[in-house]
């Protein structure tokens, strides 16, 4: 079984480009849906305040982009500095760690978050680099590993037994 093998064998090894891209896609979808929902919330608020003269809020597209990028940056930063897992990583079962397998400190997590936010396309470089490390990973000495079994995390405060 493929699923059996992925869970038992791949745990702790560097993740490939497909998994990481899908995780990134989930995160992007997550962030942009939050931005969209915020816009919707703004509109509903406007409607509640003045229902008779309701118009959709006129927000320049640049603001959306800015909000999305700022949100993405802080989201990635906090996720990587705490558990090493974003929402997409949790779904796809990956984790961002330093080269020796530890959790990233705040500074390194912040630098990596900024880099990834500004230059997301660099993710694909992990398809060709040795050790499957993207252009973000190499200067910051980080890597992305498969991390299906959450209970193997030594620094995880709440180990969760994943069903197999």
């Amino acid at each position: 079984m493929a699923a059996e093998r992925t869970v038992s064998d791949l745990q702790g090894k560097t993740a490939g480009v497909a998994t990481r891209t899908m995780a990134g896609a989930v995160d992007y979808a997550f962030i942009w849906s939050i931005v969209g929902l915020s816009y919707l919330g703004l509109a509903i608020l406007g409607f509640l305040i003045n229902p008779r003269r309701f118009t959709w809020p006129d927000v320049p597209i640049g603001w959306f982009l800015l909000a999305g990028f700022v949100l993405m940056f802080f989201y990635l930063w906090l996720s990587w500095a705490t558990r090493g897992k974003t929402f997409g990583s949790m779904v796809l079962g990956t984790r961002v760690v330093s080269l020796d397998g530890d959790r990233l400190d705040f500074i390194r997590a912040g630098l990596r978050a900024g880099f990834v936010t500004v230059f997301p396309i660099g993710l694909f470089t992990c398809a060709i680099t040795p050790g499957s490390r993207s252009i973000h990973d190499i200067p910051l000495a980080t890597k992305v590993i498969y991390h299906y079994k959450v209970d193997q995390l030594s620094d995880d405060p709440n180990p969760v037994q994943e069903r197999e």
């Binding site: 992925t6 560097t14 993740a15 998994t19 796809l92 498969y146």
Partner: protein
């Protein structure tokens, strides 16, 4: 005036002269004495349980309990003595009177006959059994209680078991129950009443509560979600491997 009287007068005079002074002295000495007594009873810096007052209280309580116990025991003893004495005394008294003999002598056939002859029975009955007294007596009766007291349940049960089935069968054979109900009972109103009494909403809610729908949904969806996640992860990992081999590179190190 003799000597004794003089001596007494002298003592009285001295006492009257000394009394106010003694009163004043006592008054002055009283306050410090009270304070001293308090200090002795509850010296400062001594824990409460070791003060004289506490100890005295404790002793007093103990003494009181002992005294009360003593009194209780005394009463018990007295009652025991009375229990022994009273029957013996009563028996002795009755023996001394010769009650049986006395009754035998007084209540002879003649005396009883004479007594009965003096009574006008119809008049007595007429006096006692007036409509008012009969009403009062009957209203005081509780048929159910009476029946329960005087009829042996087992006998009643046997009687009923013997007599009732044939009786009922014959009665039922004579009756067309369906027709009677149809003619006399407003079935629609009855069913309406039943439905009104039922509280269907409440029953439904209870049933739903019993079923614990949330946990069922949680289990089923979590199962589905886990399957989807596991499948996605497996395919992603396979894709990783495929891409890595396409670029001719050993992916896992």
């Amino acid at each position: 005036m003799n000597r004794v009287q003089r001596a007494a007068d002298l003592a009285l005079g001295a006492a009257l002269t000394a009394a106010p002074t003694a009163g004043r002295v006592a008054k002055v000495a009283f306050a410090p004495a009270v304070i001293t007594w308090r200090l002795v009873r509850r010296p400062p810096l001594v824990p409460e349980q070791f003060t004289l007052a506490t100890i005295a209280d404790r002793w007093e309580a103990r003494g009181r309990v002992a005294r009360e116990l003593q009194i209780d025991q005394g009463i018990d003893k007295t009652i025991e003595v009375f229990d022994l004495l009273v029957p013996a005394l009563t028996t002795a008294a009755v023996d001394r009177i010769g009650l049986v003999d006395l009754i035998g002598r007084v209540v002879t056939t003649e005396t009883v006959d004479a007594a009965i002859a003096q009574i006008d029975i119809p008049a007595v009955i007429g006096q006692v059994l007036t409509p008012a007294t009969i009403d009062a007596a009957l209203s005081g009766l509780d048929p159910v209680a009476l029946t329960e007291r005087y009829l042996d349940p087992v006998v009643v049960e046997k009687l009923v078991a013997l007599a009732l089935p044939p009786l009922l069968t014959s009665v039922l054979e004579q009756l067309d129950l369906t027709e009677i109900v149809r003619q006399n009972v407003d079935l629609l109103a009855l069913s309406n009443d039943v439905v009104e009494q039922l509280d269907l909403a409440g029953i439904t809610n209870e049933v739903i509560d019993e079923i614990d729908l949330p946990s069922i949904i949680r289990e089923s969806t979590s199962g589905v979600a886990t399957e989807v996640v596991r499948g996605t992860r497996a395919s992603a990992a396979s894709a990783d491997e495929a891409i890595a081999s396409f670029f001719g590179r050993k992916q896992r190190d």
